[in-house]
Amino acid sequence: MSDVGERPAVRGCVAVAVVEGSDLSAVVGTHFGRSPRFLLVRGSGEKVQVLDNSRAEAAQGAGPATASLLVRNGVTAVVAGQFGPKAEDALRTGGILPVVVTPGTKVEEALAGLSPAMLQAAD
């Protein structure tokens, strides 16, 4: 079985959870579902778009709701410090790879750890 990391991204972008900041020097956020903001990164980081997460404050189900938001934004992989079980289930059911990084990692460092194929977009 080929792994998701090997497939070429013919479309879409990588979403990185952040608490603040809007460029690649921002620090990756700890929690996926409660992340107030995502950076949508295309190409090898040349294009960064800020997506504010309207679902972060949801009383419950923030993880799946956030997953659904990202699916609608054409995300191919998501980077965060941790994923709740329901969020991980929702992302993987949608064919999206959750990528866990250690706390304190910068966005650019996290992206460097992903395969080039995942970052290259036809957008």
Binding site: D3, R7, G74, E88, T93, G94, G95
Partner: protein, 285 residues
């Protein structure tokens, strides 16, 4: 986006095409899920052995009678359009198998002695196989109401950007429930008299539902030319032809994706996947 793989006749290769197509698409792009809506015989999982991460028992509401307050007036039986309630004299009997869960009986009852109770019909499952999302519905043995579970499985497909729906065979309510929201229906057919007969029915159903159709001709080197002539006359594009190959049958019989064993079949499926991606890419998020 939803691409449904359907057929009139059982055994034409729906699951063969749906599983291999979904796998090929998932190798090309993220956001792909395989959805088995053939809830009476969901066997796509045999090819993927997915890691199931979520399951839920699926239930439909059916009326239950509180006899203490029932006056036997029969309003409920008169209101029911499906013959699921029979009232005779003082006795009112509910037949849950016939119930369509519309709730009209509960509203019709002047004594308010009917209330809805959940009746389980099957299990919904979500998970993934490698990079590909996986969803299926498994109907309970002996259960007659497949449609609500099929609709629930189709609804779950919203987790993915591009879902490949493996539809139940035929043209009845089950098939309609699986297909009605599809953006494209790929009709898998074979060039035999049986294949032609059932293809005609399938196409009629899709036309009645206003669905866009395309065809894949399986076992394309058997039979005669009437299926192709029929498809051409109805302007249904043929997206792929799969000649009979014993190796494909062997792979299926051993629960292996044929595209991982038979190179010619793999390239046919990959071309189909490329075609669909090219076509749907502008519509994907």
């Amino acid at each position: 986006m939803r691409v449904a793989v359907a057929s009139g006749k059982g055994g034409t290769g729906k699951t063969l095409m749906a599983t291999n197509l979904a796998w090929s698409l998932a190798a090309r792009t993220a956001g792909v899920a395989y959805v088995d809506t053939d809830v009476e015989a969901p066997n796509g999982h045999l090819f993927f052995q997915p890691e199931v991460t979520w399951t839920e028992r699926h239930a439909v509401p059916v009326p239950t009678l509180d006899e203490e307050f029932c006056s036997g007036c029969g309003e409920c039986a008169a209101a029911c359009q499906f013959g699921a309630i029979v009232a005779g004299g003082q006795a009112v009997t509910v037949y849950p198998d016939l119930c369509h869960s519309c709730g009209v009986c509960v509203r019709a009852c002047p004594e308010r002695s009917l209330r809805e109770q959940e009746r389980e019909t099957g299990t919904l499952r979500r998970g993934h196989a490698g990079p590909m999302g996986f969803i299926d519905g498994v109907l309970d043995v002996g259960e007659v109401r497949a449609v609500p579970l099929i609709q629930a499985a189709v609804k779950e497909s919203a987790w993915s950007a591009l879902a490949v729906l493996d539809a139940p065979p035929g043209t009845s309510c089950s098939a309609v429930a699986a297909l009605e929201d599809a953006d494209l229906v790929i009709l898998v057919c074979e060039p035999t008299p049986f294949g032609l007969h059932d293809l005609e029915l399938s196409l009629q159903m899709c036309e009645a539902l206003g669905l866009e159709t395309a065809a894949v001709v399986n076992r394309s080197d058997v039979g005669d030319g009437r299926v192709r002539a029929f498809l051409a006359a109805h302007e249904v594009p043929v997206l792929a032809e799969v000649p009979f190959d014993r190796e494909i049958a062997t792979a299926c019989a051993t629960g292996v994706l044929a595209s991982t064993r038979v190179a010619t079949f793999a390239s046919t499926v990959d071309r189909l996947a490329d075609h669909l991606l090219e076509r749907f890419e502008p519509c994907l998020p």
